[in-house]
Subunit: 383 residues, 2 copies
Amino acid sequence: MSVTAAKGFRAAGIAAGIKQNGNPDLALVVNDGPRRAAAGVFTSNRVKAAPVLWSEQVLAGGQVSAVVLNSGGANACTGPKGFQDTHATAERTAGALGRGAIEVAVCSTGLIGVLLPMDKLLPGVDAAAGQLSEHGGEKAAIAIKTTDTVHKTSVVTRDGWTVGGMAKGAGMLAPGLATMLVVLTTDAAVDAEPLDRALRAATRVTFDRVDSDGCMSTNDTVLLLASGSSGVTPDEAEFAEAVRAVCDDLGQQLIRDAEGASKDIKVEIRGAATEDDAVEVGRSVARNNLLKCAIHGEDPNWGRVLSAIGTTRAAFEPDRLNVAINGVWVCKNGGVGEDREKVDMRYREVHIVADLAAGTETATIWTNDLTADYVHENSAYSS
Amino acid sequence: MSVTAAKGFRAAGIAAGIKQNGNPDLALVVNDGPRRAAAGVFTSNRVKAAPVLWSEQVLAGGQVSAVVLNSGGANACTGPKGFQDTHATAERTAGALGRGAIEVAVCSTGLIGVLLPMDKLLPGVDAAAGQLSEHGGEKAAIAIKTTDTVHKTSVVTRDGWTVGGMAKGAGMLAPGLATMLVVLTTDAAVDAEPLDRALRAATRVTFDRVDSDGCMSTNDTVLLLASGSSGVTPDEAEFAEAVRAVCDDLGQQLIRDAEGASKDIKVEIRGAATEDDAVEVGRSVARNNLLKCAIHGEDPNWGRVLSAIGTTRAAFEPDRLNVAINGVWVCKNGGVGEDREKVDMRYREVHIVADLAAGTETATIWTNDLTADYVHENSAYSS
């Protein structure tokens, strides 16, 4: 279903030959209207790929007719030629569809610092345009995979309108987003400004709180396109909630497919003085390599949780900290709590709760364990 | 030679039975004077182990007669009982030596959240006091090892005076120091204030710029004790330089023994607008798990360097960044530079230079690669 679950959209996914292994590598998503409002959120990395620089300009206009996405190359750190290639990709897409290039967003993912094979990519755009279909969402989701082991899609349907989407990403997930491409579509009749508000509110508490390895990509992009073809303009809060639900589902799918992971770790911070404190502490815990190794070894090593909390600026007193792992309060008041032998860590999901005892704010960050497979996957070849 | 290279010091290292495997686990360093000025630098982690809280009080007086160190248990997150145990350790040491407990610094390293076996540790203090020797420095250095594969010592001798020391640490090395215990001694006649200045200046550019895995310990301590027994008061700059040289050497030894590492990585930042910028960028690069995996795989993946630089607040323009790996400028002006095939990464030391082209300041951060062995070592058992 993916990006074609909502009415008014067609999509395609093909193998253009960008990837040397012949796998699908080019996707196209087209908004057939009647409306074409859009919103976008991009990487906060200051080294931005050419497609990000281009798409930021496109989104400034608040309208997107089509999104063209490629895997097999990030087109990042590729200089003026890389930007020209992105521009040419948008122009070719616009020409094939009879739209304006300034309404064509471009997304790329893959190795940094390599120019795209435009002799393959541009004919691929034409081929994809020829295969656009109202049932093409699944193929588009498959074509944007890089090291993903599965393609990721999600759909929420409400009273007469739908929000759906696709995501790719398996490593480099981090706050500020990270090599993650997401295209969401809706047939709700929503203008660009409320679309933007809904998307930012959703990504702030979903993708921004998924932190696989603390690394932030140059290419992250989340787009939300509205066709208005349902004719329904939902209540803004209800719409925002639907967008959040789809983002949350896709974010969970990203973590479950993180490179080499054997555990999904939910880091829940409670009792923080502010939400910012809760997020800062959650990220610090989620990024602690020693803790992530311990969880991999099914070792409820709460000392590493406290050690990570201690590096933050959040409000807390060390002797009031409490930590539970899988429901067992192994640390109470900054010291030894219940018997750590009681902690059952056999299952894939691990739930860490850290109570700062400094207020009432909370935040949850999702991460995964650090494994030898992660090292192998990220050292055996360039990605 | 270690802590007994300088005149006026005795040391011992014994197996007190704190470690279950029977390895040496208790060290004692005694300053026989005539002076006993001292300086200390402690972890900036806000969750501090009991011995750190105690030793900070001791150092506030500017005088240290003895340091008692144990491996086999960090005595961190152990509450009031843990602090009582540290206090009792200082009292026992003071009693055995005929000194005041307020001049006895205590250091511990090992697993967090476990009380020390005081029934073994206290008799161990007596035994160590009975074995103190002017040749005991090596044994003391051996007794503070945890996952270290080798013990680390260093000595610098100048005109009539000496600075020497020992260090332990193999993981959790990070800015602000990290499970790292260092005791330096000198027979120079230097007061507490210039000692403190020399030690802080040295650690700022040595141990603080060694970052194995971004994790910061609860127990880090660096102490510098001066006996004055040489009768020589060196020029302050010359003395500071000698302290820096010993710290630099010990810091290098720590990186070379980092857990599971197969590459030592020197991250040199040039052309920064400020030294703070250079340090921030260097740490960001040194902590990037994806880059550390790539280096392990001998892949000169400069895109991951740019990606890490892009997450910082330092002054730079993306299209002016230059990166060299082992002398080959693989990235020029933010894009593809020399052929990456030219980069020879067969040797253990890897040298990354990132030129921000934003000024003239520099900083060098040392780190190591991320390996499957690191994961095994930190997941197979608690540490």
